[in-house]
Symmetry: C2
Subunit: 200 residues, 2 copies
């Protein structure tokens, strides 16, 4: 791209273009929208990013993101500590929360096993999951993983690893369409899959 907009604006466009969903063209549109709406958009977004950079951290219990550690969900005494819902990423946790079908705790794996991408168990938060599942009072681990090859491989691997802990291991029902990533599903589908979950 020619440096037509000055180095500061080109740098801003370049960074915006790295966001998923924004290509080089839409990044330019976004930069322009920001620069035209300085007080309503540019300044607040700048503040929100600075605050997120300074304050948001990873929950040492579940792996979610929050400004407190343990996170608000892990600290919430009204939530059912006997249920742990395992998700691939924080985006899937957010989708579960929006669906409002689950009132237990979470465990963010940080990815899926993948032979193709060379992701093994050590790259995921599997050990901490087994440890949490073995704590007294934990009754059920729900594997809310995508219905993809990697998702199902990971689910079966986790079911084996959790066999030693005295917990029921379940999976989301087949309401999740094949190949479907959780965070692209509508809330109703997620709620239904949660209600109809089955043993792994």
């Amino acid at each position: 791209m020619a440096a037509s907009a000055g180095p500061e604006i080109e740098r801003l466009i370049g960074l915006l273009a790295k966001l998923p969903g924004l290509g080089p063209r839409s990044a330019r549109r976004a930069a322009l929208a920001l620069l035209k709406r300085r007080d309503q958009l540019l300044a607040p977004l700048s503040d929100a990013l600075a605050e997120a950079a300074a304050r948001v951290k990873t929950c040492s219990t579940c792996g979610s993101l929050d400004t407190q550690d343990p996170c608000a969900i892990c600290s919430d005494g009204t939530r059912d500590a006997s249920l742990i819902c395992v998700v691939e990423e924080v985006g899937a946790l957010w989708a579960m929360e929006r669906a409002g079908a689950f009132r237990g705790r979470y465990h963010v794996l940080g990815g899926l096993l993948s032979a193709l991408d060379g992701v093994g168990p050590d790259a995921l938060r599997v050990g901490p999951l087994v440890a949490r599942a073995s704590e007294p009072g934990v009754r059920e681990v729900i594997l809310a993983l995508p219905a993809t090859v990697d998702g199902q491989t990971t689910a079966h691997y986790l079911a084996e690893r959790l066999a030693g802990a005295e917990v029921t291991v379940s999976m989301l029902a087949r309401g999740v369409p094949v190949g479907g990533e959780l965070d692209w599903l509508d809330d109703g589908t997620i709620a239904q899959a949660m209600r109809a979950r089955r043993p792994a």
Copy 2:
């Protein structure tokens, strides 16, 4: 949207969702990408936005955006001061610069006349354009406006207003597809339309 990700992250998602090209879902993905790539993406974008908010201003001559006023283009002595290219918005100016087919100066109107949206001449930078066009040494004003109803209405209005100034008034050739916004065009189309421009 349920406040599933904590107020700070929800605020960030809400602001990202206001960017053109990002809906609520892609804004969540973007927020997650930012939070996962703190050092490579979140911190640099936060800095770039803060710098843009502090340093980028509107050029008092042409209406473009830059960290200096007059902007780099208006200050560039190697550019042809006898040509003024009128564009709707800064995004169109950037598109012209990327096409590399124009080495004169610009004038950013700040919009188009629109009966429907109630945009009259006073809402646009028409007076300053007429003043600039009347300065000695200005030879041609090129109306690089979109080939839409509002774009063409605006072009004809400007041609009338510029009749008193001793300048040639031209328009981009019909290489610009009907309904086409300049900043979505490929560079070759823009360059061709510039070369084949015709009297307004």
